[in-house]
């Protein structure tokens, strides 16, 4: 807030800066006189009130100033490529080559438990700069990320979806998505919420509506909602998916959705279907990238057969669920 902005009426400030409205609301400051200038209002704010808020007059003014200054948030430049560069394995051997992943590409990470799949994803997650055990560097569009890119919470570049994640917030699906949309400062929030729920329902085996509590969703529904949210509401251009094979969702549709949004997708998996859905797969061994294989045409026909088997198993599951006999299989 410049000196001039300090003289703005409170109403203008609250109308013009949604984050300031949310900040003041968080302090319990509601029903403020819209016509008074911020400066006058601050000067008259009783000391006892400030004491309860845990901020003195200057600190409160500084917070307001920062919120107006940082509202023009760094709209992160489009990320076209992520480069994973120069890692070392457990015995000191280097990664076989730099790996460049492009927007709209799915790269799967495969390897036995303990081979370093999670380390590789974690390196991408924190945009490592030689400061993790692997020594890897992550480049964005071919260059090292800026400090703002690494640490700004508002424009976090990497989103994650893993088997261990759960919704813990006590809100309905609709209310929670609206909250998320608000903090992403998305316009036309109702439309976005409706769209995320609709898309999540195409991924999940069982339908759910916006009025169900997020904590009551089944594992598959929750994963479906996380993926739809990551595709449509999360601004992050890079999505890391860790072992979602048992989630009971339509995996091909889930990945197609992310690719359609031009996300850069890395999937750590033991699942043959997921592994072959990737355009390429990274083989990790003893903590290092041992090889990178493009999915071959023959593997794509294997994938088709696998999907056939998968559909048959899903059909069986459904019939058993509905109390049918499966003698005829």
């Amino acid at each position: 807030m410049t000196r001039v902005a300090l003289d703005l009426p409170l109403g203008t400030l609250i109308q013009g800066w949604p984050r300031i409205a949310a900040f003041l609301d968080g302090l319990g400051l509601t029903g403020l006189p819209p016509d008074r200038s911020v400066r006058e209002w601050l000067a008259d704010l009783p000391d006892a009130r400030l004491h309860d808020m845990g901020l003195d007059r200057e600190q409160l003014a500084a917070h307001l100033r920062h919120l107006t200054d940082s509202t023009a948030e760094v709209t992160s430049e489009t990320i076209q490529t992520v480069t994973i560069h120069g890692g070392r394995g457990k015995s000191g051997d280097s990664d076989s080559a730099d790996l460049v992943v492009r927007a709209g590409e799915i790269v799967c990470v495969v390897g036995p438990t303990g081979s370093g799949k999670s380390r590789l994803l974690a390196d991408v997650e924190c945009l490592a700069q030689g400061d993790t055990p692997s020594g890897r560097r992550i480049l964005l569009n071919g260059a090292a990320p800026t400090a703002a890119q690494r640490f700004a919470p508002g424009c976090k570049l990497v989103a994650q979806i893993s088997q261990n994640m759960n919704f813990v917030v006590d809100l309905t699906v609709g209310a929670f998505l609206a909250t998320h949309a608000r903090c992403r400062q998305v316009h036309r929030q109702d439309d976005v919420v409706e769209r995320v729920v609709a898309v999540a329902n195409t991924l999940a085996g069982e339908r759910f509506g916006p009025d169900v509590s997020v904590t009551q969703l089944s594992g598959g529904q929750a994963r479906a909602l996380m993926i739809a949210d990551a595709a449509l509401l999360t601004a992050s251009p890079i999505i890391l998916i860790d072992e979602i094979e048992n989630a009971g969702i339509n995996r091909r549709q889930a990945l197609d959705l992310l690719v359609a949004e031009d996300k850069i997708v890395l999937v750590s998996t033991h699942d043959p279907l997921l592994a072959l859905l990737g355009h390429r797969r990274v083989i990790v061994r003893h903590g290092r990238v041992a090889d990178v294989l493009a999915t071959s045409d023959r593997e794509k026909t294997v994938l088709q057969r696998l999907e056939g088997i998968d559909a048959r198993i899903a059909g069986l599951r459904n019939r058993l669920r509905h109390g049918e006999r499966v003698d005829d299989v």
Partner: protein, 231 residues
Amino acid sequence: MRLVTVAGPPSVGKTSLFLRVAARLRDDGALVGVVKFDALSTSDDEAYAGIGLPVRVGLSGGLCPDHFFVSNIDDCVAWGREAGHDVLIVETAGLCNRCSPHIRSVLAVCVVDNLAGIHTPRKIGPMLRLADVVAITKGDIVSQAEREVFAYNVSLANPHAPVVWCNGVTGQGAADLAFRIRSAPEVETLDGQHLRFSMPSAVCPYCIGETAIGETYQRGNVRKMNFGDRP
């Protein structure tokens, strides 16, 4: 000696995280000492001692932990300096969310966790609002969407502080915090220094051991609830 105050609600993972941070600082050649403040008992000192760090414990017992902390912090600094430490980590228990342990010109870290619920940031006072860095833990077990909403609410409560995503189990974020501690201001003594904000206060008969309930005993610094005009 570089000093860092670490504060945050109970069970957010302060000790797990700072074990990682301390180990990293030590591995980079720094002599690291730790002081752990707690209320009734702690075994966190054993965890720090377990990785070979010199550690002292302050238990506030029946006193306000915040007041106990500020009465002893300069002694902690003296201990750290005499022991020749390069870094002193002072971990405090943030028990009532209105605590205010951060000191001007001393690096202040607040640790909060994603499990606490997305509205928690607005319920935490100076401990969060006036910290230099906010470490958010337990991000591995909540959805990405909740992480984002939580971080957004943290940035509303404290627009100045950078957010560091941390995990005491995997060590995520430890390198970042260690880096910030290495560039923290040097501290010789805290004599004459000031807290960033006043601590929670109450001066009344209950402060000195009164247990009886009733209007007779409500003297001194007392505030009454307002229940409105109608029943």
